[in-house]
Symmetry: C2
Amino acid sequence: MAGGATTPELVAAVSNAGGLGMIAGAYLTADQIADSLSRVRTLTSKPFGINLFAGGYASHQRDPVPDPSFALNLLSGIHSEMGLPAPTLPDPIADPFADQLAAILADPPPIFSFTFGIPDRHALDALARHDILTIGTATTVHEGKLLEAAGVDAIVAQGSEAGAHRGTFAAPFASAMIGTMALVPQVVDAVGVPVIASGGIADGRGIIAALALGATAVQMGTAFLTCTESGTTPVHKQAIRSTPAELTTVTRAFSGRPARGIENDYLRAWYAQEERALPFPLQNELTRPMRSAASRRGDTRYLSLWCGQAGPLARDLSATDLMRQLVSEMRDTQERLHGEG
Amino acid sequence: MAGGATTPELVAAVSNAGGLGMIAGAYLTADQIADSLSRVRTLTSKPFGINLFAGGYASHQRDPVPDPSFALNLLSGIHSEMGLPAPTLPDPIADPFADQLAAILADPPPIFSFTFGIPDRHALDALARHDILTIGTATTVHEGKLLEAAGVDAIVAQGSEAGAHRGTFAAPFASAMIGTMALVPQVVDAVGVPVIASGGIADGRGIIAALALGATAVQMGTAFLTCTESGTTPVHKQAIRSTPAELTTVTRAFSGRPARGIENDYLRAWYAQEERALPFPLQNELTRPMRSAASRRGDTRYLSLWCGQAGPLARDLSATDLMRQLVSEMRDTQERLHGEG
């Protein structure tokens, strides 16, 4: 889930209501992770977790970076319009994973989840020694098998409907766009560990549907982005609830890695030019000043409006009320199915 | 569903087992439709239906056709390798819908379904006068609302997982790739008529999941393509069951309209060149000799291997046994959910 969205209040509210609140740790420093873990602990005594990007940094230091002139020209125009200093090409960025993991091991939460790849043997062993359960992210059956072979405790099957970053790590991104309805039962059949369904699930109907497919649990992102406790900007929350699914798109224009968000002026400027985006995380660094300024000003033209294809099902509720509502919808759905059956 | 797959035996077996068998009528002449309707009636006394393309022919006569040299060169090489006469550019093709509809009205089946658009008022009124229930195909909520406003009796919500042609008619194809999990509940909330879920559903788990999302029924294509009674070639059936979902792709290379099939040599030759395909139905006509020869020879390199993203869940069973199996899996899924609930 997007960086600033998972406030300690949101994470704790979800856990206190019987869910598993997750801290989005990928863009946090080790100090910020330590602070987040400690703040969540003051707000809940229930299990919670933290998510990191495992991998995704190596290629931008290894592979040739494309000519940045398109990206720099486009951002120069936007910066100028917004009154920001001219954009500069970021230096290579060290993978923060080792430092982030150290902060997690220093104050172990019950759950650690990851996406973009598989942590190395050393990291997985350290997590196991600290009794931290691990959850990996798969977008294909093959990735699910790789995660199981690495020894994860559970697997998120991320369908093509999901908002924000694709977790794909062992397939071309464009081909690993498998819908949740098709992906979940095939991953369930292929692995022996519990499967958590993700992508397009935003209400109790979707939760029961995912359980029917064989999932043990669901992961919901977009549905919680619009909650009161979420750190998402009000204009982003409004856009999620009001934008038809066909106006979301998977784009590399914000971070350099494919992620699903709502179309806006910035994305349209990249139309048919995405191969000219810098690799992750350079593109993410390059677009940060624009995104930060747009966030402060509530300017949806230049914000990364992450959103899954079930955005219009998201609600304006507190996380506690949403959790209660989901349980009630699950019961209604069960009763309706039972009546039909 | 693909043209030759829906033999009268397959349609009747599905209806006799309690499903609703559908004749794929889009590529049939009026005489062939009359023959199909009559042959299905001799095999079943249960309800069945027929599907046509409604629209999709107009644009190739209205819009400029792109330079055909890429398509002709590519097919020349394949024809030469296969020992076929050189390919020729097809003439504009008249929309067969009016003649096909006349054949249907002359011997009315209980159900008529359509995709690619909405039949005009005259056609819908004629269907209603003949007591034929109509089912339209939507790939977005907006298309669902347009179909309801036109007066259809039910709507197929076609998720991005679905095999073969996209039904999209009021959105850009690429953006109307909404997963079944996200699409179905949003269409259910937006319209008052029954919604039939389609895309990625190939077993009893998927059927119960679709019902949980609010669908009244499901439409399954790929799962029946592999049945004994299906006219699909044996190599195509084998490819459906053995190909991972990430090796299917949505392509214009066979017919000129986006459709999901399994990657093969022919599709790879079109990689990044799809805008040079002729518009539907010219591209379909142009590729027909290649596809026919490949079908006779069981040559998967040049066949249109239509397949949804749940292909690996499809089975080698008679339609009667598959129907029995689906009902049994639905019951198992219900019991599992009930135990969890």
